[in-house]
C-alpha cells in the first residue's frame, strides 16, 4: 500500500469517524403540527411553533447540545374535516405531535387515550406559563388534569352599524351608551329585533338584512342559550344541564326573528363569504361574530374604519332569566400520544415557548384575539392595539366557555339540530325542544340533568 493510499484511507476513516461521532451527538426531531379553524389571519397557530423551534435549537446549542428540529404543519380552515382527520389519524396511530384545537375536544380525546397530559411535561410555575391567565388553564383542564396549553382566546360580540342606528333615530350619545345598556340588561334581544325591523321598515337595509347571525354551527349559539338563562353545567354535581325553558326561549327568539322578517328562515347555511361581504360593507343592521372577524374584515373585505362604522357590545340578555354575555372558545395546544416520550418533551418545550408573550401577541393582534397571559397584555404591539385591548378588558370578563365534558358533543349536536328545525319551520319550537330532550336523555341517561 502506497503512502498516498494509506493517507487517503486514514483521511477517509477520520472523516467517517467524525461523521458518525457528530451523528451520534446530534439529535434530529420532526414535530408535526395540525391546526383547525386556521384561516389567513390565524397562521401564527403553526408559525409560532416554527419560531419556537428556532429558539429551542438555540437554547440547546448554548447548553452544548446539538438538537435539530423540523416542524411540519397542516392547517384546516374549518372544523368538521379537521376533527375527522385528527380522530382517524389517531386511530391509525398517525396523529400529529401537536394538535391545535378547541378546548372542548379535550374530554373525548383524553378519554380515548389520544392525548398526553401536558402537566406531566411542563412547569406552570416557570416562565412563560406562570403568567397565563388561570381561568384559561382551567378551560384547558379536564377531570383535574391540565391537558393543554392555551393557544388563544377570544370573545364573540354583537355588532351594530352606527350609520343604520343613527338612521332610525339613535343619537351619537345613545349609540355610545348602547354597550352599557346591553351589559345592564336594559337592552334585550327583542329590543334588538325591533331596531332591526325599524331599519328594514325605513329602507336603510334590505329585507331579512336587519339581523344577520352566524351562518352555521358554532359555539356562538350557546350565547343565546345563556342570554335566556340557560346553564350548560350544574356547578354542584358537575353534570351537564339541559334547561328546557332557556332552550325554548332561545328557539322562539329565532323563530320570532324570522317571523318578523329581519332574518331569513333559511339563513343557516349561508356562506361565510356572503356574510362577511354583507356585514363589512354596511348592508346589515345588526349581527354577531367574533373579535377576530375585525381582522378579517380589514384584511380581506375592505373595512377601513371599524370604530367609526361599527359599535360592539356583549350579546344582550334575552329576558329577565338570562344575562348579557359572550362566549370564549379558547384554542389549546395539545400533545398527542404519537412518537416517543422524547418527541413529546420537544413538542412540550415548543408549545411552552410558543406561549411567550411576544409570540402570542403576534397571533392575537394579527387575528383579533385576546391576550392569554398578563404579560402579553403589556407587550407594546398588543397594548397599542385598541381592539385587542378592548376585547381583553371589556368583553373577556363576561365570557363563558362550553364545557370539556365528553358527552357535551351529543348535547351540542342535538341543540343545533333543534335550532335548525325550529328556525326553518320544519318543526314547532315545542317539538324541537322535546326532540332535543329525548335525544340527549336517550343517549346520556343520568349523565345530564334536564330542568
Amino acid at each position: 500500500m502506497s503512502i498516498l493510499k494509506t493517507t487517503k484511507t486514514a483521511l477517509l476513516g477520520s472523516v467517517l469517524a467524525m461523521g458518525f461521532a457528530s451523528g451520534a451527538l446530534a439529535e434530529d426531531y420532526t414535530i408535526t403540527v395540525w391546526s383547525g379553524g386556521t384561516g389567513e389571519t390565524g397562521s401564527y397557530r403553526w408559525e409560532a411553533i416554527q419560531m419556537a423551534a428556532d429558539i429551542l435549537e438555540r437554547e440547546y446549542a448554548v447548553t452544548g447540545q446539538d438538537v435539530s428540529i423540523t416542524v411540519e404543519h397542516q392547517e384546516w380552515s374549518g372544523w368538521d374535516d379537521f376533527k375527522q382527520a385528527v380522530t382517524l389519524a389517531a386511530e391509525a396511530g398517525n396523529a400529529p405531535n401537536i394538535i391545535v384545537s378547541g378546548h372542548e375536544d379535550i374530554g373525548p380525546w383524553s378519554r380515548s387515550g389520544l392525548l398526553r397530559p401536558v402537566e406531566d411535561y411542563v412547569d406552570f410555575d416557570a416562565w412563560p406559563l406562570s403568567q397565563i391567565y388561570p381561568n384559561l388553564i382551567d378551560i384547558a383542564s379536564y377531570d383535574g388534569v391540565v391537558w393543554g396549553l392555551p393557544q388563544d382566546a377570544e370573545a364573540r360580540p354583537f355588532f351594530f352599524s352606527r350609520a343604520h342606528l343613527a338612521e332610525i333615530g339613535y343619537s351619537q350619545e345613545e349609540i355610545d351608551a348602547l354597550p352599557q345598556r346591553v351589559q345592564d340588561g336594559e337592552y334585550t334581544l327583542y329590543d334588538m329585533l325591533d331596531d332591526a325591523k325599524a331599519m328594514q321598515d325605513k329602507g336603510v337595509v334590505a329585507e331579512r338584512r336587519g339581523f344577520m347571525p352566524r351562518v352555521n354551527n358554532g359555539t356562538d349559539y350557546w350565547q343565546f342559550y345563556v342570554s335566556f338563562g340557560g346553564d350548560m353545567v350544574d356547578p354542584e354535581t358537575g353534570k351537564l344541564v339541559l334547561d328546557r325553558q332557556a332552550l325554548t326561549d332561545m328557539y322562539q327568539f329565532f323563530v320570532d326573528a324570522a317571523d318578523m322578517g329581519v332574518v331569513s328562515s333559511t339563513h343557516l347555511g349561508t356562506t361565510w363569504d356572503d356574510w362577511h361581504q354583507a356585514v363589512s360593507s354596511d348592508q346589515v343592521g345588526i349581527w354577531h361574530g367574533g373579535t377576530w372577524h375585525k381582522a378579517e374584515w380589514e384584511a380581506k373585505w375592505g373595512l377601513e374604519d371599524f370604530f367609526g362604522e361599527i359599535q360592539y357590545s356583549l350579546i344582550p340578555a334575552g329576558n329577565e332569566r338570562g344575562r348579557a354575555n359572550t362566549i370564549s372558545h379558547p384554542l389549546v395546544y395539545l400533545l398527542s400520544n404519537t412518537g416517543t416520550d422524547d418527541d413529546a418533551v420537544i413538542a412540550s418545550e415548543l408549545i411552552t415557548i410558543a406561549t411567550e408573550p411576544r409570540i402570542a401577541a403576534l397571533h392575537a393582534v394579527k387575528s383579533g384575539k385576546v391576550a392569554i397571559g398578563s404579560e402579553e397584555a403589556k407587550v407594546p404591539v398588543f397594548a397599542n392595539d385598541r381592539w385587542s385591548s378592548i376585547a381583553t378588558t371589556e368583553l373577556l370578563p363576561y365570557a363563558t366557555a362550553v364545557p370539556n365534558d365528553i358527552d357535551f358533543g351529543v348535547v351540542w349536536k342535538a341543540m343545533y339540530a333543534g335550532l335548525e328545525s325550529s328556525w326553518t319551520g320544519t318543526s314547532s319550537v315545542e317539538d324541537a325542544v322535546n326532540t332535543v330532550e329525548s335525544e340527549v336523555t336517550g343517549q346520556l341517561g343520568d349523565a345530564i340533568i334536564v330542568r
Partner: protein
C-alpha cells in the same frame, strides 16, 4: 383435463374473490359489528384502558360502593420512605439526585404534586428538563387516580395495593365505571327506532329517492328516444353533451351548481333582471333546495339511463319500426307500442340499480345543500355519514353511524330481492326457449 380447467378457473376467480372480501364483505361485516357497540371518538376503536377520574368518581356515587372506598380512590399523595425509595432505585433516576432525595426528603409526605415538585426543584442535582423531574416523582406517588392502566389485570393489582379493603365485587364496580373503551349494546337501534328525528329522515330519504329516480328514468328514457330519432351525427353530439354531468369530477360538478344557483350566481342575476325573486336557490328555501338536490343528482342519473336505454334501443330490430311506418304508425305509437314494451329489462335495471345507488349516495347533497336549509334535505345516508365521520363537534359516533349504515344495507338487500321478484329476473337469465 377437467381438473386443470377447474383449477384455472379458481385461479382466475381468486383476484375477484379477494377484492370482494376486502372491499365488500369485510366492510359490511365490520359495519355489522360496529353497529352493536357504543364506539365513538371517546371510546376509540382499538380497545380501552382503565382510568379512575373525577368523572368516574361522580359516576360511582350512583352505585352501592362504600363511600370510604370511593373517597380513597380519589386520594393522592407522595411519600418518601424506604419502600418508595426502593422503587425509585429501579426507576431511571440519576443516582446523585436520588441520593439527595433520600438525604433531604426522607419521611416526608406531600398531598399535592406541586409541593413535592417544589422541594425537588430546590435540590442541587435537580435535572435540567422538567420532564425528568416529573418522571422522578412517579415512584413516590401513592394513588390510582388519573393513572391509565392498559389492562384489567394491572388495574386490579393497583387497586388491591391501594385499597386492600376492596372486595371482588367492589373491584368489579370500579373497573366497570373506569373502563374507557367500547362495549356491546343494542341501544343504537333502540335509539334510532324511538327518536322523533328518524321519521323525518325516512320521509326525506323516500322523497329524495323516488323523485330523483323518476327524473332519472323518465328523462333518461326521453333523451334516449329523442336521440334515437335524431340524425346520427346530431344524436352523437347530444349524447356527449348529456354525458357531461356523469364525466365531470363530482366536486367540480357541485361547484358549477353553486355558481349556477348561489347568490349572485347565474340564476340569481337572471331572476333579478327578469324581476323574479332572486335569492340563494340552493339553500334559500326548502322547495328550491329540494329541486336543486333532485336536479343535481337527477342529471347524473339521467345520463346514465340514457346510455343504457340508447344501447337497448339499438337492439330493437329496425324492421319493426319500418313495418310500423308502412302500417301508418306515428312516432308516439312507435314509442308506446314497439319501443317501450321491449325496454322492460333496461328500465328494470336502471330502476333497481339507481334505487340502491340513490339510497346510499350522499356526496352530492353533502357538497351542495349539506342537508340544509336546516336539516330539510338531510337523507339517511348523509346523516349516517355526519354521525359516524364528519360533524362540527368532532363527536364521531361510529357505533350509531354504523347502525344507520347497517339499516341501509338491510333495506337495500330487501329492495334488491323485491325488484328481482317483481321484474322476474329468473326469466331474464334463463336459457332462451328457441336456439339460434
Amino acid at each position: 383435463m377437467k381438473n386443470r380447467a377447474n383449477g384455472l378457473g379458481l385461479v382466475l376467480m381468486a383476484p375477484a374473490v379477494l377484492l370482494l372480501i376486502a372491499f365488500f364483505l369485510l366492510p359490511a361485516t365490520l359495519t355489522g359489528i360496529f353497529a352493536f357497540t357504543n364506539m365513538s371518538t371517546s371510546t376509540g376503536i382499538s380497545g380501552g384502558a382503565y382510568v379512575v377520574t373525577e368523572t368516574v368518581l361522580r359516576k360511582l356515587e350512583a352505585t352501592d360502593l362504600d363511600p370510604k372506598l370511593r373517597a380513597g380512590l380519589g386520594e393522592k399523595s407522595y411519600t418518601v420512605n424506604a419502600e418508595t425509595l426502593a422503587a425509585a432505585t429501579s426507576a431511571d433516576i440519576e443516582p446523585g439526585f436520588l441520593a439527595e432525595i433520600e438525604d433531604r426528603l426522607s419521611g416526608k409526605t406531600y398531598a399535592a404534586s406541586s409541593a413535592f415538585e417544589d422541594d425537588l426543584k430546590s435540590l442541587p442535582s435537580r435535572p435540567r428538563r422538567i420532564r425528568d423531574l416529573k418522571l422522578a416523582t412517579e415512584p413516590f406517588e401513592r394513588s390510582v387516580i388519573n393513572t391509565r392502566y392498559p389492562d384489567r389485570g394491572q388495574f386490579e393489582a393497583a387497586l388491591q395495593t391501594f385499597l386492600p379493603a376492596a372486595t371482588k365485587a367492589d373491584l368489579e364496580t370500579i373497573a366497570t365505571a373506569s373502563y374507557t373503551g367500547w362495549t356491546w349494546t343494542r341501544d343504537n337501534f333502540i335509539d334510532l327506532f324511538t327518536r322523533a328525528d328518524t321519521l323525518r329522515l325516512v320521509a326525506n330519504t323516500v322523497f329524495y329517492v323516488c323523485a330523483t329516480l323518476a327524473f332519472n328514468v323518465f328523462v333518461g328514457l326521453f333523451l334516449a328516444i329523442a336521440v334515437f330519432y335524431l340524425p346520427s351525427r346530431a344524436g352523437g353530439v347530444f349524447n356527449v353533451l348529456w354525458l357531461l354531468p356523469r364525466i365531470t369530477p363530482v366536486v367540480l360538478y357541485a361547484i358549477m351548481w353553486k355558481w349556477f344557483t348561489w347568490e349572485n350566481g347565474f340564476l340569481y342575476v337572471a331572476a333579478e333582471d327578469l324581476g323574479l325573486p332572486a335569492f340563494n336557490y340552493m339553500k334559500g328555501s326548502v322547495p328550491t333546495a329540494w329541486a336543486t338536490v333532485i336536479l343535481v343528482n337527477g342529471f347524473v342519473g339521467a345520463s346514465f339511463g340514457m346510455i343504457l336505454f340508447s344501447g337497448a334501443l339499438r337492439a330493437i330490430p329496425i324492421q319493426q319500426l319500418w313495418s310500423s311506418e308502412v302500417d301508418g304508425a306515428n312516432r308516439w305509437q312507435q314509442v308506446t307500442r314497439i319501443i317501450l314494451p321491449q325496454m322492460r329489462w333496461p328500465i328494470l335495471f336502471v330502476t333497481s340499480y339507481q334505487t340502491l345507488s340513490l339510497l346510499s349516495s350522499y356526496e352530492l347533497i353533502w357538497l351542495t345543500t349539506n342537508g340544509g336549509p336546516g336539516s330539510t334535505t338531510t337523507v339517511w345516508s348523509l346523516e349516517a355519514f355526519h354521525t359516524a365521520l364528519n360533524n362540527y363537534t368532532g363527536n364521531l359516533q361510529y357505533g350509531l353511524g354504523a347502525a344507520m349504515a347497517l339499516i341501509l344495507v338491510i333495506v337495500g338487500l330487501a329492495l334488491s330481492i323485491l325488484y328481482l321478484r317483481l321484474f322476474r329476473f329468473n326469466e331474464l337469465v334463463s336459457k332462451p326457449k328457441i336456439e339460434f
